[in-house]
């Protein structure tokens, strides 16, 4: 998956200038350090994992402000979602009518993005369920997985 393809999932056509360093993408302001083979430069936007792109926490917020489809959840569902659960229709408080298969960013009451998923049925009567693809709890799981090694 390319970086552009990742953004297109959310309906974002805006081009973002990125530099790939190992398995991560960065927005680089100063290229003079690149010759010394750093593992991180400036602003981290995303990582490649299992052939897919997962965004950084801050870039996720950038994506959520531009994404075509969103759903908002309450406090309890917020907690379950960042623990890696899918969202049931009863836990979704508001949304802007995504169709089945759409990528949907998940927002909390403060409109902070918690991650994203794929909309699935039943969509009749506006009822929406969302299969989790990525959530910000991934940061902890990533670090803990590493610690066990």
């Amino acid at each position: 998956m390319s970086f552009d393809e990742f953004l297109l999932q959310f309906g974002i056509k805006e081009k973002v200038e990125v530099k790939q360093i190992y398995r991560s993408f960065f927005r680089v302001r100063d290229e003079s350090y690149l010759a010394h083979r750093p593992v991180w430069v400036d602003e981290c936007l995303a990582h490649i994992r299992n052939g897919k792109i997962v965004p950084s926490v801050d870039f996720l917020q950038w994506v959520s402000k531009r994404a075509r489809r969103w759903a908002r959840v309450g406090a309890k569902a917020e907690w379950l979602f960042i623990c890696g659960r899918d969202l049931k229709s009863s836990s979704i408080e508001d949304h802007n009518n995504p169709s089945s298969g759409d990528f949907v960013v998940i927002l909390n009451d403060r409109r902070e993005c918690l991650g994203y998923g794929v909309a699935s049925g039943p969509l009749s009567d506006g009822k929406l369920t969302i299969r989790r693809v990525f959530d910000i709890g991934d940061l902890l799981r990533r670090e803990r997985k590493r610690r066990k090694v």
Partner: protein, 297 residues
């Protein structure tokens, strides 16, 4: 004579004017002012039942009085609105006082608490260069930089001695050196540590400090810190630096801290060592820490 065990270390600390005390350190957070304000975060966390109290030892530090849940897994933490960082560990960067637009080096950067604090004080402006040698510690550093929204850092997985290859002169350098730790942080610390290990650390610490000084600009500030209470890793390193490196010690000026010890087990150190700050757990109710502020001549 045994060179390990509780009695051995207790006797050493008493000779230095300290003691071994049962100190329960409370969890502290550092508000990430790159993403929020203290007022906003306190109000947000208190609405969830978290009780915080201002921690006078550091600027953006709050002591966690009580919390109905773990503060290391909630949305606010994952969004990087705060870091879990013991208050004593927040002091070295405050002593370094990095500013916007400066070129700053963090010599032993993982797990990234102090690196993100440096970026925070720099308001993400200027350049922060981080070195971390140990691959297994690098992941924590990168995750922390990402979570805290650090956007002015460049990170190298390498020994800090390679910093010379960058051909830069740094305004500020933090040497938070790898050390033997202290008994407050680690259960069974007295049984795990021996004097030989401490002396080995001291050799590495001198090497790192030497690299740090060599790339600081003239008049640049170098802060050397450890979370060790052992003089071999602290005062003796600074005494060696005064005598062998182009640096002078300036007053670290840390609230509640004791001065660096100049009489160490019968040896008289350079009087400027007393300008360093030593945090004895029984006095500050924090973990043990040592902080020295040096200026390159």
């Amino acid at each position: 004579m045994a060179s390990a065990g509780r009695e051995f270390f207790q006797e050493r600390y008493e000779q230095l004017g300290g003691e071994v005390a049962s100190v329960q350190i409370t969890q502290s957070i550092r508000v990430n002012t790159l993403k929020t304000t203290c007022k906003e975060l306190i109000s947000r966390l208190s609405s969830k039942g978290v009780v915080l109290e201002r921690e006078p030892l550091a600027k953006n530090a709050y002591r966690v009085v009580s919390s109905p849940f773990s503060l290391g897994a909630i949305t606010e933490y994952l969004l990087g609105l705060y870091a879990l960082q013991e208050v004593a560990a927040q002091i070295p960067v405050e002593v370094l006082a990095p500013r916007q637009g400066e070129l700053v080096l963090d010599c032993c950067a993982a797990p990234g608490g102090k690196s993100s604090q440096i970026a925070q004080l720099m308001k993400n402006k200027g350049r922060l260069v981080c070195y971390e040698l140990k691959p297994h510690r690098l992941k924590s550093l990168l995750v922390n930089l990402e979570r805290m929204g650090v956007k002015n850092a460049v990170v190298f997985r390498a020994d800090v001695s390679r910093v010379r290859l960058l051909n830069k002169e740094f305004d500020k350098v933090l040497v938070d050196a790898p050390c033997s730790g202290n008994y407050v942080l680690e259960k069974g610390w007295f049984e795990k540590r021996r004097l030989e290990g401490i002396l080995r650390n001291a050799q590495i610490q001198r090497k790192i400090l030497s690299s740090a000084v060599s790339v600081a600009r003239q008049g640049g500030v170098i802060v050397y810190s450890t979370c060790s209470l052992e003089p071999e890793e602290n005062e003796l390193v600074i005494d060696w630096a005064i005598r062998n490196l182009p640096v002078k010690v300036v007053l670290a000026n840390v609230k509640g801290a004791s001065p660096g010890v100049v009489d160490v087990f019968g040896a008289r150190l350079h009087s400027d060592v007393s300008k360093c700050a030593r945090l004895w757990p029984h006095k500050t109710k924090t973990q043990g820490f040592f902080i020295a502020k040096l200026v390159k001549k």
